[in-house]
């Protein structure tokens, strides 16, 4: 067996080409890899992302795949894709439309072409463009030959054939050999965009360490793809996207689910508590279970329970025992957990419940994103059962939001909901790595001694005696001598926690639990309103942060005055939110649901917010938001319908996300740009 291993990762080549290669500077590129579910497109995207991150571009990713693990090969439902937006400046979204599409088969081309603007580059693997395959997906003729793709920069290549040729020395079957075609494509695209390739070589060496043939074939295919770009006449241009100028610091790339897992561990560690996760696998939350199960050395216990109810039950039982109980799920699982969440509200024990939202109702579209569980987590329990609700705004923000959830849960002895979604969970972005020692310490403040005196003058323990500031109840854990007590789902008497059916006591306890949640300390909402003259505020929550921010930049680029604010705390709302809403003529609330936050804001503040609602299972687009925002700005200015142009102008910008006025300053968990509190300025 030949063992020509690419020990030298520097890709020194004997230059064979005769044509000089031109290098074009770009400030941003959106690239999409698409193929069959089994073609390894997610892995390819992950690797290209890692290369891009290590090069120092800002980036944002959007994996998009079917729920079926392996839908029939070559069919439209089986197409899986991975989109990456990278730039030499601060960007907020994975991009509306790809500049480059890599399609590994006819179905991938057909399924994705509608998203690709004319003029974009199509790199297409021609190997599967047979009459039979084409007919199967509704092509009567080969679109590569009919001229219907003339508006694109089409590069048809037999990637599969060249892959098989490049690995023939390893003696693999044709089927096995062709499986390395994703690495061939990655090598080619890595060449095209001048990505550093060392990390991918190292990755392949590690991943296939136990399978030398497969390892060597993948590395050979990757190198061959790279070399093909260098030598082939098809490519006369390479592109360069310079590193982004981001705030000084050390960065890594991180996905939402990984950041969430790390944040949960950080929260527990800052509180000095063991973490116990009870969870049942569910898309798109399972990766949090996977990641936490690797972290046993951090005193993290993961219980893969028999069902969603047992998952939260184990978490609550662990919290009763003095650990930080956590459960992770998605909407259908949260439905099943509702009764136990209510018990947690009644017991007043710390509990973190993560809802990685997906498109519903019912099973819905498991791998697609949505933010339609807001009202469920706010109100989806019997009785008056309030609890704090937080929402992460970007993949990296999942870390900070998890730490915040742990702080609130432990400080206030309450279940806390963390909302993420499929887009944040699987998407990734650069993250300025925090210094964990600087994260605020969390004090569990366990009760160790009797906290009251009974009628007979003896020291006693009252489990529902409250801290006057926070209204948090006393928390004595089993094993604490002299403080044994019984708690349960039945209504409790104030202070003693004994069963009580007294009408006035019930009213008091209901109002006290509500007051405790209403009084949770949350930071004021910050408004990005650069010169304080905007009449329209766009307010978002959760993963719409990126698209809204990008839409806002587009509108500003064409001269629109617009304010932007984003909610990370949805219950309680920041104290200044009402004043903020009332200080603008119009408030626009874009959501991936039918207006759930809009409903809450209208009910609480009597402000006539404008709802923009889209539920397509995909993130909102920056251009569509720019158009909506631009139109509303002009409407508010009193400009007639037919005289408006700002929305259209903002939507049609090709470089809309560039924030020319403020080229850097990414601050995780906060809005970019100048922060402004309108209640002080208007």
């Amino acid at each position: 067996m030949p063992t020509r291993r690419p020990d030298d990762p520097s890709f020194d080549l004997e230059m064979k080409r005769t044509v000089t290669i031109e290098v074009k500077q770009l400030d941003r590129v959106v690239i999409r890899f698409a193929g069959d579910s089994g073609d390894g497109m997610q892995l390819t995207g992950d690797r290209f992302t890692a290369e891009t991150a290590s090069f120092g571009n800002d980036l944002s990713t959007l994996p998009n795949f079917p729920a079926e693990i392996r839908a029939p090969a070559g069919t439209l439902p089986g197409v899986s894709s991975f989109q990456l937006h990278f730039a030499d400046h601060d960007i907020l979204t994975p991009g509306d439309a790809p500049d480059v599409l890599i399609a590994m088969n006819p179905a991938a081309l057909k399924a994705n072409l509608k998203d690709v603007p004319r003029g974009a580059t199509l790199i297409v693997d021609t190997a599967d463009f047979t009459a039979r395959n084409l007919k199967r997906i509704g092509y009567d003729e080969n679109p590569l030959e009919t001229g219907e793709l003339d508006a694109y920069h089409l590069i048809p290549l037999n990637l599969t054939g060249m892959t098989v040729e490049s690995v023939k020395e390893f003696g693999l079957t044709r089927k096995d050999a062709s499986r390395a075609k994703n690495m061939y494509a990655l090598g080619l695209v890595s060449w095209l965009f001048q990505r550093p390739v060392e990390s991918t070589i190292t990755f392949l060496e590690t991943k296939f360490a136990g399978k030398p043939d497969i390892r060597d074939a993948n590395i050979a295919a990757f190198r061959a793809g790279y070399n093909f770009g260098e030598t082939a006449e098809e490519f006369s241009v390479r592109y360069e996207v310079k590193p982004a100028s981001m705030a000084a610091g050390t960065y890594r790339n991180i996905s939402g689910n990984l950041a969430l897992a790390y944040g949960l561990v950080a929260g527990a560690q800052r509180a000095g508590l063991p973490l116990v996760l009870g969870a049942y696998p569910i898309t798109p939350a399972s990766d949090v279970l996977h990641e936490l199960s690797k972290l046993k050395r951090f005193n993290v216990t993961t219980v893969q329970a028999e069902d969603e109810i047992a998952g939260i039950g184990a978490a609550l039982g662990a919290s009763f025992g003095g650990a930080l109980g956590v459960t992770t799920s998605s909407g259908p699982g949260i439905s099943l957990k509702s009764e136990t969440i209510g018990l947690g509200v009644m017991l007043e024990l710390p509990l973190v419940i993560c809802d990685i939202q997906r498109a519903g109702p019912s099973t819905g579209m498991p791998t697609k994103t949505e933010q339609a569980d807001l009202l469920q987590v706010m109100f989806g329990r019997n009785g008056e059962a309030p609890l704090p609700v937080l929402a992460a705004q970007s993949p990296a923000d999942c870390f900070a939001i998890a730490v915040e959830a742990a702080r609130i849960a432990i400080t206030y002895r309450t279940p806390v909901i963390v909302l993420s979604d499929g887009y944040l969970a699987n998407g990734s972005e650069p993250w300025q790595i925090p210094v964990v020692a600087d994260l605020p310490a969390i004090d569990p403040n366990f009760t160790l001694e009797p906290n009251a005196t009974n009628d007979k003058g003896e020291p006693t323990y009252l489990p529902y005696l409250r801290d006057p500031e926070t209204l948090a109840r006393a928390w004595a854990v089993p094993g604490t001598a002299g403080l044994d007590h019984r708690i349960g789902g039945l209504e409790k008497e104030d202070k003693t926690g004994n069963i009580s059916y007294d009408p006035a006591n019930h009213d008091l306890m209901i109002r006290t639990r509500q007051a405790k949640v209403d009084g949770v300390d949350v930071p004021p909402i910050e408004v990005d309103d650069p010169d304080g003259t905007a009449k329209v505020l766009v307010l978002g929550w959760g993963s719409t942060y990126g698209p809204i921010g990008a839409g806002v930049r587009r509108v500003r680029t064409v001269g629109g005055k617009i304010a932007h604010a984003h909610l990370r705390h949805l219950n309680p709302f920041p104290e200044n939110l009402g004043d903020v809403l009332r200080s603008y003529d119009k408030v626009l609330v874009p959501e991936m649901n039918l207006g759930q936050l809009a409903m809450l804001l209208r009910a609480k503040y009597l402000v006539d917010v404008v709802s923009y609602a889209q539920v397509r299972g995909m993130p909102l687009g920056a251009a569509e938001l720019a158009e909506v925002i631009g139109n509303l700005v002009e409407e508010t200015e009193g400009i007639d319908d037919d005289a408006r142009h700002m929305g259209e102008a903002a939507a049609s910008l090709t470089h809309g996300e560039a924030l020319h006025t403020q080229p850097n300053g990414r601050t995780n968990g906060h809005t970019n740009g100048q922060l402004h509190h309108p209640e002080g300025a208007r």
């Binding site: 991150a53 009870g278 050395r297 951090f298 219980v303 210094v435 020692a437």
Partner: protein, 359 residues
């Protein structure tokens, strides 16, 4: 407390890790200040009294006892014990107790449940707790009726039972709780009767000493909605022929003057026969071995229980075998991870391997 000799050498370890009491305890210390609110004559009183009397003899710190219950009459149990306790929600006590047991190896964790709580709404958690063999003790009070909701048939009610929800008689086939537990390969399975305090206490002790999940079915009379469901086991006229006593190492022989016995009968099943009619006499009887690895033996024993109205059933420890407890294994993995990888460095974790620095 005098008890019945179940013939079982105590399997050590059920209480391993739980701190020992420094002074002798008495029953009163385990009585809480809450007024007991079961109906007069309820079998729960007898179980509570036996349990309060039994806890001091475990010799563990009172604050290291944790009771977790679900919903139903029996699930009020924790309120009446001065230990740590949680009265949770319907059917979920085994799941909650699993989390508690995993988090706290220093607690003796007990689940109190009923036939509706454990076998109907909480059936899933019960079987999974048993298969995992979590170190907790499950006391299933079986009164074969729904009491707290005022008299509907339960998953252990005999077929044809006329109740408020089954005016023409129930058409459901009931669960035999012991068979179900053995089907889930529970490592400790026993049955006892509320009114036999000596036997009840002996079973509780054996359960407490078992490392892993101990499942104890307690026949418990509901005087309001299902009175005398277990009368055959209590009436001096009938009880000798009704109770098949299981004593480890002893031939299974019962009835007035021991005229009945249990013999092997066909493929993997057992039957009750007149000893006098057996060719070998007592030598033909099955000698009870609770440590039999194959649960098929204990399962065959459990099938000697009447499916309909109860006239006869085995009482005692059906099965007591050793298998690593789930929570011990979970903690062992954490220990191993910390020994091999060190206790985690959080900063190194969040930093990861691939970073870049902007100056």
């Amino acid at each position: 407390m005098s008890t019945v000799d179940l013939g079982l050498p105590s399997l050590p370890g059920g209480l391993r890790g739980v701190p020992a009491a420094t002074e002798p305890q008495n029953r009163k210390e385990y009585v809480s200040d809450q007024e007991v609110r079961w109906c007069p004559g309820c079998g729960d009183y007898a179980v509570l009294a036996a349990f309060q009397g039994f806890l001091p003899e475990l010799g563990i710190k009172r604050e290291n006892v944790a009771m977790v219950s679900g919903i139903g009459c029996s699930s009020r149990f924790p309120y009446y014990l001065s230990t740590y306790g949680m009265h949770s929600i319907h059917g979920r006590a085994p799941a909650i107790a699993t989390g508690l047991a995993v988090a706290r190896p220093d607690l003796s964790v007990w689940v109190v449940t009923g036939d509706g709580d454990a076998l109907s709404i909480g059936g899933n958690h019960l079987i999974h707790t048993l298969r995992r063999n979590v170190n907790l003790k499950i006391l299933l009070f079986n009164n074969r009726i729904y009491g707290l909701t005022k008299g509907q048939y339960s998953p252990t009610s005999e077929p044809g039972k006329v109740t408020k929800s089954t005016p023409m008689g129930s058409v459901d086939n009931p669960f035999n709780p012991v068979s179900l537990a053995l089907g889930a390969e529970a490592t400790f399975v026993a049955r006892t009767v509320d009114s036999d305090r000596k036997h009840l206490t002996s079973v509780l002790r054996a359960a407490a000493e078992h490392r892993g999940t101990a499942f104890v079915e307690i026949y418990q009379n509901c005087p309001i909605f299902n009175d005398n469901a277990f009368e055959a086991f209590k009436d001096p006229e009938t009880r000798d022929d009704a109770i098949i006593p299981l004593v480890h190492g002893e031939p299974i022989r019962f009835g007035t003057d021991g005229h009945l016995g249990v013999v092997r009968d066909g493929f993997a099943s057992l039957a009750v026969r007149e000893v006098a009619e057996l060719p070998g006499g007592e030598a033909d009887l099955v000698v009870h071995d609770a440590h039999t690895e194959d649960p098929a033996y204990a399962f065959a024993l459990s099938r000697l229980t009447d499916a309909g109205v109860l006239h006869r059933a085995p009482i005692g420890v059906f099965r007591s075998v050793e298998r690593p407890a789930y929570d011990d294994l979970v903690r062992q993995q954490i220990t191993t991870a910390q020994e091999t990888q060190g206790t985690g460095d959080l900063q190194a974790l969040v930093t990861g391997a691939d970073t870049w620095t902007i100056n």
